[in-house]
Amino acid sequence: MTVLEQRASRRSGSYWPAPPPAWRPRVDPAPLLPDAEPYRLLGTDAAGRIDAGLLTDLYAELVRGRRYNAQATALTRQGRLAVYPSSTGQEACQVAAARVLKEQDWLFPSYRDTLAAVARGLDPVQALTLLRGDWHTGYDPHEHRIAPLCTPLATQLPHAVGLAHAARLKGDDVVALALVGDGGTSEGDFHEALNFAAVWQAPVVFLVQNNGFAISVPLAKQSAAPSLAHKAVGYGMPGRLVDGNDAPALHEVLGEAVERARRGGGPTLVEALTYRIEAHTNADDATRYRTEAEVEEWREHDPIALVERELTERGLLTDDFVQRTRDGAEEMAAALRDHMNQDPALDPMDLFAHVYAEQTAQLREQETQLRAELEAEAADAGKDEEKAAKGDTAGGTARGAAGEERP
């Protein structure tokens, strides 16, 4: 067909010949689109249908989570943690994500999601290994079905897709839930992961915790999309927008998404609207990019307060229950403090132990070198102690006899 002919056919109403069927969109996007308003349960007429047991459980976990965040933040001030990205204000997302998973399912957290790992049952000390600076991962991922906390943004998302896909290939009933921040949705890996997940119909759920900022950059400078949940539609998966401080609403939306994935219904993208009450980390100065008034507004919409209101209305918030919850949280915090106040026992030889399954000759040489250095250090320390014991305070030099023994 020539250009002229195409022009001619325009008058008859079809400028282009109809595309072959394979070119057409495969699904009607309407059912995939998120609602304009975030989904809420607390404070709505539907709140009455929330199970009382679930409400009290969520409350207890939120209180515990808040205490955990406070304790971890305090530990940074004491120099016991190298850094802590707090999830204060975001506890509902963390707790709900952990709670909707079955034992065999997998969680793929980022650096901000230690609370989700703890809520899934991981020992808080193990969860904080990375942030403490004692190795990178403090637990066996297979034992807990929690992937290592991921620092490069969004890179854990394709891992979640691959794992879920592999599980399905093997015929196992496993769902993967991956956590990512609003900033992380701009990364290429976010796109690639969602696209793979939808094409493969992998049993995976993506939870975007939209807490308003990527360090200092507000969402408006991150994305021009109507919502981050809208991004789902282009991949061919449903997008859900939910109030990220409404724990029961999150629990319901995530629970449905996980069960849909389990049934073979494919992936879902959930965007939770929440707020980071603390700074990005203890090293960040949030006053440079946001006002205290804004933070105050969000304090009004606190995830614990929201559940508390519902429990009070139902008469479930008894003094006894509140006390027991607080005591439990205090106990957890005290245990965490105690453990973190002990210096971890680190073996420098571990540096070479886990690079390859079989150590290379080069690493064996380097291991020998380090061992000699350590022995020299120990010998020097011994001499210093001897001298100190004799009242000689001059001390020795760092270079010892062992150094000369080296080939």
């Binding site: 490069p152 394709p158 897709v161 691959g162 592999a166 093997k170 793979f196 886990h354």
Partner: protein, 344 residues
Amino acid sequence: MTATAAEAGRKPASMAQALNRALRDAMADDPAVHVMGEDVAELGGVFRITDGLAKEFGEERCGDTPLAEAGILGTAVGMAMYGLRPVVEMQFDAFAYPGFEQLISHVARMRNRTRGAMPLPLTIRVPYGGGIGGVEHHSDSSEAYYLATPGLQVVTPATVADAYGLLRAAIASDDPVVFLEPKRLYWSRADWSPDAPEQVAELGRAEIRRRGRSATLITYGPSLPVCLEAAEAATAEGWDLEVLDLRSLVPFDDETVCASVRRTGRAVVVHESSGFGGPGGEIAARVTERCFHHLEAPVLRVAGFDIPYPPPMLERHHLPGVDRILDTVGRLQWESDWTEGSGD
């Protein structure tokens, strides 16, 4: 003809066929082995290395992925976490770069960060190198990026037998292997029978391909045939060159390399990738540190120029050829140059 037709049919004639056979045997032996990448299923890969695998094992075992290198590597990480042994194909050397983030931040580190709890048995096949007349982004030699990354093994066959043996070994390894396929040698042929002994090679062992007394050419991958040719040509000038094929850049076989250099007293490293910051510098340094008192001359390098890979019509000037190797070998007569005062 005494061999049966079936046997003759099974006999791979080219490196491409040996690689294909290695994948097929690995998949047949272990259901955990999954092949994935761009165009690997129906098409069999742009170089046909995965030809027939989808048909034989189904698309679940040899499947086309969306066109996304980070996605391919990232999902392969998750699959390996769950106990599969993915073998991924990067279509061309320079198209692997979008996947580097996953490769460096995750593939190379997962064992280490989990203190051994989560090893990743993952093979990343990358056709690499020039000499095929490819346009831009189809001829890079990226090995320096890979070998600078602890946690990765970097392997590259130069012979048909090694293409089979080393790929089987890579897939069997419990750690990630970047498997660099010299695409220029895909169609090189050899009398090789899969029934020959020692099919599955050992990673981290160099091989001497030609014995010699006067100097060692240390090389790998696409430069091996060039070095062997140079060694033959050098006999006319009275040089008896040893040619050493590294086969594996990580782990590096110091032992075989240094034993050879100590015997010959002279060494030249030959590779296609750029010299500055390239593997040759590392190899020369290692050899010098270990064999200094045996060396009659500095370790010299013949490498590609320090330029972005040139357009195909000019690539022959960039790639180390026989003449450039021979010129460099000539410079190994360091002592006589020195005493004559010509130096370098």
